[in-house]
């Protein structure tokens, strides 16, 4: 086989490797990424759409992955950035404004429904965390759900470690107040 042919074959193998890797990543982290994205966007369909886009993005960016971080950290970073980009987008701002207007229109059935489920401890805690502003919510989720260390959170979210510490402390205070109100 000539050198030129070898180059050609390796280029082809490289493509197949990349596709297989994305496949494995989806199997291993598909649910984790979907859950992570959900904590940002709070909507199932949107979270699924974004997760799909995130894996496509990973495929495109695979050559940039330099192994200076673990594959998981790299994947999470892409997912977090993509979710935040979505929240900043015009499309998102427009639909949430409509939702906010709709919230002012009282709905009787919604009230009843909430009363029934709200007394459950698990629901209360989850609801409280999901109601936190994003900068606190992401840190609480990454620390208590994903069990990342503060240092890992700092590198995944590209936030200064001291900021992470302060936010975690503040988040706990906020949660305490919220849960107290509920009970």
């Amino acid at each position: 086989m000539s050198e030129l042919e070898q180059v050609a074959v390796s280029a082809e193998e490289h493509e197949t490797d990349r596709e297989q890797l994305i496949d494995q990543l989806m199997e291993k982290y598909g649910n984790d990424i979907l859950h992570l994205v959900y904590t940002y966007v709070k909507n199932q369909t949107t979270a699924e759409d974004l997760t799909q886009e995130i894996f496509i993005k990973c495929y495109e960016k695979l050559d940039d992955f330099k192994q200076q971080s673990s594959m998981k950290t790299w994947l999470y970073r892409i997912a977090i950035n993509h979710s935040k980009d979505y929240l900043r987008s015009w499309h998102y701002r427009k639909i949430t404004l409509n939702d906010k207007i709709a919230e002012y229109i009282p709905s009787k059935s919604k009230q009843v429904e909430e009363e029934i489920i709200a007394k459950n401890e698990e629901t209360t805690l989850t609801k409280a965390v999901m109601a936190l502003p994003i900068k606190y919510r992401e840190i609480v989720f990454l620390h208590y759900y994903e069990e990342l260390t503060l240092l890992e959170i700092s590198s995944t979210t590209t936030t200064n470690i001291n900021t992470v510490k302060t936010r975690l402390k503040r988040a706990k205070e906020l949660l305490k107040d919220m849960i107290k109100e509920e009970v």
């Binding site: 042919e5 180059v7 280029a11 598909g30 649910n31 959900y38 799909q52 496509i56």
Partner: protein
């Protein structure tokens, strides 16, 4: 110390994440998008072999920026990019991705030069033109799929 947040993982799994999983349909959609993307990407064999050789030849001894390369092609009577200058940059980018050429930014201009691999290819082609040309063509087609 009993931190209520220690229960978060369990709580979320039982509530919001209970019916939330990344389905097979969604995974397949990703795979399909990747396949489609591959085909819509520019392909090397889309360009004439001579054009690629002219480009490699033009940066053989000194690095050049895009405009200099396009002037060189024009002098060689190669009009591939005469109406679509942007295509030249797509081709350069592709050659760079294939490791045949490399680039560096000097004062806001991107200068291209041959990599060792590119030099080998060019030397092989120039040494034994007809036979190796077929081989280059083969490489371009294979590398593009």
């Amino acid at each position: 110390m009993n931190d209520p947040l220690n229960k978060l993982k369990n709580s979320m799994k039982k509530t919001v994440f209970k019916d939330l999983s990344f389905s097979h349909e969604r995974k397949n959609a990703v795979k399909e998008a990747i396949q489609r993307g591959k085909h819509s990407h520019p392909q090397l064999h889309f360009w004439k072999e001579e054009t690629i050789l002219y480009i490699l030849d033009s940066i053989q001894y000194e690095e050049k920026h895009g405009y200099e390369i396009s002037t060189h092609l024009y002098q060689k009577n190669d009009n591939s990019f005469i109406k679509s200058e942007g295509q030249l940059y797509t081709l350069l980018h592709l050659l760079e991705n294939k490791g045949i050429i490399q680039s560096e930014w000097i004062e806001e201009k991107k200068y291209y030069s041959l990599t060792t691999k590119g030099k080998k290819h060019l030397a092989a082609v120039q040494e034994d033109a007809p036979k190796q040309r077929a081989s280059l063509k083969h490489l371009l087609e294979e590398a593009s799929t």
